[in-house]
Every structure is written in C-alpha cells, then in structure tokens.
Amino acid sequence: MRWRFRTELTESDVTPEEVFRARRKFMAAAAGAAITGALPGGAVAASRSDPVLRDEPTRYEDATSYNNFYEFGTGKGDPARLAGRLTISPWQVRVDGLVERPLDLSLDDLLKEMRIEERIYRFRCVEGWAMVVPWNGFMLRDLLERAGVRKEARYVAFETLLRPSEMPGQKRRLLEWPYREGLRLDEAMHPLTLMATGMYGKPLPKQNGAPLRLVVPWKYGFKSIKSVVRITLTESQPPTTWNMMAPDEYGFYANVNPNVDHPRWSQATERLLGSGLFAGSRPTRMFNGYEEEVAELYRGMDLRKYF
C-alpha cells in the first residue's frame, strides 16, 4: 500500500471558533488592562505564550487578511481588498507536457473526482512569518497519475492565471507575469504535496489563491503558487518567478532551513501570525518541521548551494 502522510496535528488541535473568539476578547482586555496598569504583567505573559509554542491553527481572519499575492498588489492587505473582482467560475486547469493523457479539467471535475482531505500544515513565508493552516485539497500525485507521467519527465511547472483586467498587480512589471513555480518530480509526487481547494473547511478565499493552489509545506510560501491554471511536466528545470527576479535570494528549492540565511532575512527564527506584539519569535524548524518526511529527497545535496 502506498505510504500516506500522517500529521501530528489533528482535528483536536483546531481551536473551536467560539474559543478563538473568547480568547481574542481576553487578549484584548488583557492588553487594555496592561496599558492602564490594572493587571499584573504575568497574566498577559501567560495568555500570549501558548499560541507561540503550540501549533494552533492561525485564526481564519488572520490567514485571510495577511497575504502575499502580488497579482493584487504588494501590500499585505491588498489581496483581501482587491481579489474580490477575480472571476473563479468557470475555472479550467490544464495538465500537459510530458504526460500520457493531457487533461483539461474544470474545478467541478476536480472536486468531484479527486479525493479531498484535510491537512493541517505549518506555512512559513520567506519573510520570516509563519502560520498554521487547515487546508482542504487533494494530493498532487493523484492528479499527475491520472494524466500519466511519462518517464522522461523530471520536473513539474505551474502557472498562475494571467488576467490583468482582474489582477491589477499584473499591470505593473514588478515580476514577470504570469507567476510561475516548479518542483522536482519527486517533490511533486511526495504525499505531503497538496493541491488545495479550500481551507478551514470552506472554499479557498480568493486572496489565498482560489480556486486551486499548490501547498508544499516544507518550502517557503512563495513556492506554493496560487490560482493555478496550468501544470506542465517537463524534462528540464522550469524557470520560476522569484528566482528569475533575484536568483541569489530565491532559490529553486527554497526549502525552509534555519541554517541557510536569506540575504534579507535571517531564517533562524519566525514570528507566528496572531501571537501579538510581545510574543517574540520561535526557532525555525528544518524543512519547517517535516524533516522526517522529506529529508530523504535531498540526501547528499549541498543545501547551501541548492537553497
């Protein structure tokens, strides 16, 4: 039987919505009290230490309001503000290149035919912030196997929708549009590699890459390309957007690695979204905590060279 991913994060780690809200109210009250000096500092400290050390799913509002999706602008709030105008229905995805049977699938086909499951993954941005997201989606490998991977194929290239009329960021040449990403075939076939169609049990919000995005939890977030319209199997390593823009900063592999500094950001620690002003940061984990599952993919590789 095929090995399937088992996460140490389970449904019981998901804080029920009412608990989120109660906690949020308490935090706000504690912060307010701290300003006026009505509460001893210890109370505030206790309330803020817990979400940093534990991998609690990020609040839905945080995960959907703080996004990098330069197709809608460079501000963290731009995608949530501007993605609303994006038409996501109908949506077609092409699977082509070195496959036995090129596929042209609508989102409905995918939702009907693929096995959708929930995966609670850590998500780590190259900028040094992190979150924990319960995704809903299917394994990329299941889709690739449906198309039939030809034996010459060694890489998988992904492309985001190009539609400047609805994606205002594409009107400026900040990056070379459409956004492109890529994986080595073994990375793409890894059971952790997910094509997400939803999060928190809801359809994927537009600012998070609706209606279909890649999620590769052991790599920096920019690898997890959003609003995918094309998946192409190739023989050679495909060009990828951030790598084309600044090859010394954004490698093709982009595996989360506390020991390899980015020229802009030390990657030794990360700030967990929603943990507050005084929470501090926590140590970054090798492969974002998925070392046991993915380290073998990179055995013998110099991860400083292939960053």
Partner: protein
C-alpha cells in the same frame, strides 16, 4: 534674478499671510506630533488593530513616519526659496523628532523583533539594507548632539554647517534603506527616493552659485 525670487514676488501677499500664521505656531507642536506618530501605532499594535503581524507592521509604520519627517525637514529650504514661506524655526525640532521616531523604529527591531544580541550584530553586518539603515541612524547622532545654539558657537558656524551637510547623505540613505527593504523595485519607496533627490537637486543652485551666475547673465 532667479525663479525662486520671481515666484516669491508673485505669491508675496499670500506667502506673507501664511508666514504670519506659521509664525504663531509653537515649535513644540512638532514634538507633540512626533510623539503621536509613535504612540498611535504602538497603541494600535497592542489592541490588535495592526493586524496579525504587529511587530513587523509597527516596525514598518515607524520607519515610514521617520522617513516622512526627514523629507519634510529636507523640504524646509526649497519651500522657503520657492514660496518665501519659512519653516526654518521648525527645522531643529523636525530633525530631533525624526531621530526620536527612528529610535522607536530601532527599538521595535531590537527588542520585539530580533531580540538577540548576537543576531543583531550579524544582521547589521550581513544584511546590506540594515547596514545602510544603521549608517543613516549613526549619522543622525552627531547632528542631534550639536543641535543646540551653544554647539554652533563652540564649533563655529562654518564647521557646524559642514557637519550638518551629513543630512544630505543620511536622508538619501534612509530612502535607499526603504527601497531595499521591499522585495523588487516597488513604486512607493522609489517615489520617496525620487522626492528626496528632487529636494536635494533644488539646492544645487545655491551650492553652485558661481557656475550659475557665470552661465546665465543677470537681468
């Protein structure tokens, strides 16, 4: 004689009126606004209004405010020469306020963001954009230390003026720091840098008076 003088004449009445108005504004207002620019985002960060990554957002908000005050400070001289409205009285307060906000910006980075002595030094040395920002900050210190009337007397006006030309280096460095912080060539920081370049270019006429008067006949 010059464009500046001509426009001053045309706008003379208006400028005089605005000048009288500005003359009644106490300088302490600048410091008060500066404190607000620190206290307001800090309060918002505490109450959760700065979003899910308050440390980074606060850091960036403070950095941008400091740069904006520096730009206003740099605009004082060109504004006076082009419109006749003099904000000279406020310039020292503007410089010190910018430094105050920069210190807040740095403190957030030091104590709330990195919070690790070894890594702070590492960041300063290894990350070019932090090196540039830090250089701009360090240049502000001697200027703040010599911002009093007695320091001007002690140094002599000429030496003091030469020292304070550091402003023309540190403000562009702060602008470059902003450009480098952003991924890719983003419009907002480039606009600030262009504005800084313009404000500096408007001074060239004064810095190179001889070449000017030689190449252009006086009326």
């Amino acid at each position: 004689m010059s464009l500046a003088r001509a426009s001053t004449d045309r706008a003379g009445g208006m400028a005089a009126r605005i000048g009288r108005l500005v003359g009644r504004v106490p300088v302490t207002i600048v410091y008060a606004v500066g404190l607000m620019l620190i206290a307001w985002p800090f309060t918002r960060a505490l109450t959760g209004a700065l979003g899910p990554d308050p440390v980074r957002t606060l850091e960036q908000d403070l950095g941008l405010s400091a740069l904006q005050v520096l730009v206003v400070m740099l605009a004082v001289t060109p504004l006076r020469r082009l419109s006749g409205i003099s904000l000279l009285r406020f310039r020292r307060a503007l410089g010190l306020t910018a430094l105050m906000i920069v210190i807040a910006h740095l403190s957030v980075w030091l104590f709330l963001d990195v919070a690790d002595v070894g890594r702070i030094w590492n960041d300063i040395v290894r990350r070019p954009w932090i090196t540039v920002g830090m250089a701009a900050f360090l240049m502000m210190l001697p200027l703040a230390a010599t911002s009093t009337a007695s320091a001007i007397r002690r140094l002599g006006a000429a030496a003091w003026r030469r020292l304070h030309m550091l402003t023309y280096v540190l403000v562009p460095l702060a602008g470059v720091h902003f450009v480098m912080v952003r991924k890719g060539w983003q419009a907002e920081p480039l606009l600030y840098l262009a504005l800084i370049a313009l404000l500096l270019a408007l001074r060239l006429e004064r810095l190179l008076p001889r070449r000017r008067s030689a190449s252009r006949p006086r009326p």
